[in-house]
Symmetry: C2
Subunit: 426 residues, 2 copies
C-alpha cells in the first residue's frame, strides 16, 4: 500500500465546486488502494483578504497576531474539504497544523518547522482514513500558532512526506508540470518529465514560482520524490527527484526570468577588508534578501559593488545604504529598477564547457547588453534590461534546443546544441 | 484595581470601523485603571457565511468539522481586535479558546465548558496587558476544537468572569440594556436598571434573546454580576444580579413573546402510567426541546396531551409522534403552528396573589383566547393565537404598569396595579 501526500494550492480550492473536485480526486487515489494525506492552502484569495483586513487595523500588525489571523484560512479549507470527502462517502479527518503535530520555531510569519510528531496522522491512516492537514502552519514552543510564510504549504507537504516516508509528494497546480520556461513568456516552452532537485532549486531561486525553494531543499535533503501536476487532467506531471546519470544528457533543463529584482551599485567602495561584509550584514539585519553580488575591483584601490534586491525592498535598502555610504566613504549609490535577471539552469553544464559562451553569444547576436553575470555550478544568470528579458528568454530557449518536445530521456545528442557550437569558444 | 470581562457580539464587530470603536472603548476601561479581559464573537454574519459554505459541501456536515470551521470566525475577531488595540498604543494579547485554557466536553457544536485553566490569561494580565479571548470555543479531551453552540460567547465570558473573580461581566449589545418588553413589539417598553438572575432566566427561556440562558445560569451559580449595555453610548445598562429584597417591590419585571413555538396535541392518550414519559423520552432522544406541557385529564380515562416544540422541529417531532400514536392507541395528533407564547415574569409575583387572574382578565377584555397556560413560581405563560401576540404584550405591559420609566426602585406601589384589582379575583 503506497502513501501519497497530495498538496492543493489556493487556486485549486477557490470555490465549493473546486473543493468537491479535489475531494473526488483524493478519493480516486484512495480507492486505488493508496493511503492519502492531503495538505491544503487557504481558499483562493482568502489570505489576501485577511491581510487587507489586518492592514485596516494596523499599519504594521504584530507578527504573532498576523499568524493567528492567517492560519484561519487553511483551517477553513481543511474543514470544508473534509466535509466534501464525507459527502462522497470517504472516511476522512481534518487536522490543523498543531493537531497534525507540526512544531515550529517562534519566528512568526516565517517560522521554520523544527519537528513533526505525526502520531495523530498515523493513527488515523491506520484506521483507513484520508487525513486532511492545514498547510502553512504549526505550533511554537509558546503554544502559539505560527505560519511558515507564503508558500509554506509546500514545505508542510514535504515535511509530512518525509516523516511519513511517503512514496510520493504530489503538488496539484493550475499548470501541468514544470516547464522549460514560463509558457507565458516562451510559447514554445515544453513540459519536463523530470528535473533534478538542484535544477529545481536553481530555477526557484531564479524566479520560477512553481515550487518553493524551502520545500525542494527539504525534499532533496530527505530524498522525497516530488511530482508537480495539474489539478484538472489525469496526465502525469513533472517528477522532481534525485539526480541520476542520464539527466546529465540534457545540458540545459530550463530558463527562468525574474523581473522582481532591482540592481543597486555602491560606487567607489574603498578596497579594504570587511567593507562588503558590513554592507551585506546591515541588509541581512533588515531581512533584505540580496541575490546576485558582483564586485568589480579597480586598479585605484576602489571597487564598485553591485547586487540585486527585490524591487519591493528598494526603499528600505536605500535608507540602509545611504548610511553605509557615509561610513565607508563610497561616493555614490546607483539604482536601476528596469532590469531583469535571466538564468539558464542544467546539471548537464557541469560536464560541458562553452555553455556560458553560448549564452552570451546568443544575447550578443540579439543586441542585448549584459549588465551583471553570476554563475553557479549548474546555473548562469545575467542581468539585462527588463524590456529585453522576454526576447532573451525566447532566444536562449531556441538556442539551447529546449523548444523540442521533452518526451523520454533518450535523445541527449539533440539536447546539446551548444556543444556543437563549441568551436566558437575562444 | 477592578477586573472587567467585556463581551462584544458579532454585530458590534461587523466592520473594521466597529472593531476600532470597540478597541477604543476597551482601552478607555483599561486607562481608568481596570484590568480587562475581552471576549469576542465572530464578525457580523461570518458564522452564517461559514455555515452556508459547509452546507454546500455536505447536507449534514459532521459536527467535529463544523466546529473546526466555525471556530475560525472568533479567531479572526481576536486577531483583528488585538491589532486594533496595538494600533492605539494598548498592550494587548489575543488568545484562542484553547490557548485561554477553556476545556470542554467532546459534544461538538454544543459543548459544555468542563474546566477553565486561566494561567495564560492571568500571566498576561499581570504584565498589564489587555487579554482578548475567542468566545464560543474550547478544547476537547481529544485535543479537538469544540464550539459551545450559538450564543456560546456569552457563556465563555461568564465562565472567565467566574474563574478570574471579575468584578463585573459586561455584555455590549446593540441595545442599551434589558427592557420590560421587546421595544419593537411594545413601543412603551422601558429599560430596566436591574433584574434578578431568575427573572432573566425566565425571560430568556420565554423567548427574550438578550442573554443566553446558560450564561445567566452560570452567573447565578457563581454570583457573577452581569451588565447588559450598549456598545454605542456611555450610559449604564441593566445589571443582572442576585435577588435582593427591594426587587420584590416590582411585581412584573418584564414580558416576553416567543413566536418560534408550535403547539402539538396528542388526542385521547390512554390514562396509563408512563405514557407521557414515553412521549417525552422519545422527543428528548431526538434532542427536540419541549417547552410548555399541559395534560388535560378527562373522565373517560383518556387524556389530551399538549405541548410546544420549536417550529423548526415540527416535522421531526411529527415523525416521532406518529409512532407513539400507534404504540399507545392515541387517536390523533393535532398541530398548530400559528401560535405564540406570551409570558410575564417577576419575582414579585411570589408574594402577591392575583397576578394570574389579572393576566387572564386583561387578555379576556381584549377578546384574546388562551389555548394553554403554564406557570412557574415567577412566570405565567400563555399560548395564544400568533396574530394576537403583539397586542397581548402591549395590553399586559400597560396593565402591569410597565410603561412608566423604570428609574429607581422606590415606587413599589405604582408597580402593583394588579393587586389593586384583587377584588376581581373569585
Amino acid at each position: 500500500m503506497a502513501l501519497y501526500v497530495q498538496k492543493y494550492g489556493g487556486s485549486s480550492l477557490a470555490t465549493p465546486d473546486q473543493i468537491r473536485a479535489v475531494a473526488e480526486r483524493v478519493l480516486r487515489t484512495r480507492r486505488k488502494g493508496n493511503n492519502v494525506v492531503v495538505v491544503v492552502s487557504a481558499m483562493g484569495d482568502t489570505t489576501d483578504h485577511l491581510v487587507d483586513l489586518a492592514n485596516q487595523m494596523h499599519g504594521l500588525p504584530q507578527d504573532r497576531e498576523m499568524d493567528m489571523l492567517l492560519a484561519t484560512g487553511e483551517q477553513v479549507s481543511v474543514a470544508l474539504l473534509t466535509m466534501a470527502l464525507h459527502a462522497i462517502g470517504a472516511e476522512a479527518v481534518g487536522l490543523t497544523g498543531p493537531q497534525a503535530g507540526i512544531y515550529t520555531d517562534p519566528v512568526h510569519t516565517k517560522a521554520k518547522i523544527l519537528q513533526v510528531i505525526p502520531s495523530r496522522i498515523v493513527e488515523n491512516l491506520r484506521k483507513g482514513r484520508i487525513v486532511v492537514v492545514a498547510g502553512f502552519q504549526g505550533l511554537t514552543p509558546e503554544a502559539d500558532i505560527a505560519t511558515l510564510g507564503r508558500g509554506g504549504s509546500d514545505t508542510t507537504a514535504v515535511a509530512l512526506a518525509t516523516v511519513l516516508r511517503a512514496d510520493r509528494c504530489q503538488f496539484y497546480k493550475d499548470v501541468p508540470g514544470v516547464f522549460t520556461a514560463n509558457p507565458r513568456i516562451v510559447p514554445a516552452a515544453q513540459k519536463l518529465d523530470e528535473i533534478a532537485y538542484d535544477e529545481m532549486l536553481e530555477l526557484a531561486g531564479a524566479g520560477s514560482e512553481v515550487l518553493q525553494s524551502r520545500a525542494v531543499e527539504f525534499a532533496k535533503k530527505y530524498g522525497v520524490t516530488l511530482e508537480v501536476l495539474s489539478c484538472l487532467g489525469e496526465e502525469p506531471g513533472t517528477l522532481v527527484k534525485k539526480e541520476v546519470n542520464t539527466m546529465e544528457g540534457i545540458l540545459i533543463r530550463g530558463i527562468a526570468v525574474d523581473k522582481k529584482q532591482a540592481k543597486l551599485t555602491v560606487v567607489h567602495v574603498p578596497d579594504r577588508p570587511g567593507i562588503a561584509a558590513s554592507v551585506f550584514r546591515r541588509l541581512a539585519e533588515a531581512h533584505i534578501n540580496v541575490d546576485m553580488i558582483v564586485l568589480n575591483v579597480s586598479d585605484d584601490g576602489h571597487d564598485n559593488l553591485s547586487f540585486t534586491v527585490p524591487k519591493a525592498e528598494v526603499v528600505r535598502a536605500r535608507k540602509i545604504l545611504d548610511k553605509v555610504l557615509v561610513d565607508t566613504g563610497a561616493t555614490e549609490l546607483r539604482m536601476n529598477e528596469n532590469i531583469a535577471m535571466v538564468s539558464i539552469v542544467g546539471i548537464g553544464m557541469r560536464s560541458h564547457s562553452g555553455v556560458a559562451f553560448a549564452m552570451f553569444d546568443t544575447l550578443a547576436r540579439h543586441g542585448i547588453n549584459i549588465e551583471l553575470i553570476s554563475t553557479s555550478e549548474i546555473k548562469i544568470a545575467v542581468v539585462i534590461e527588463e524590456s529585453r528579458a522576454d526576447e532573451a528568454a525566447r532566444a536562449l530557449h531556441q538556442a539551447f534546443g529546449l523548444s523540442r518536445p521533452q518526451k523520454g530521456k533518450a535523445k541527449p545528442k539533440a539536447r546539446r546544441p551548444v556543444t556543437t557550437r563549441r568551436r566558437k569558444t575562444p
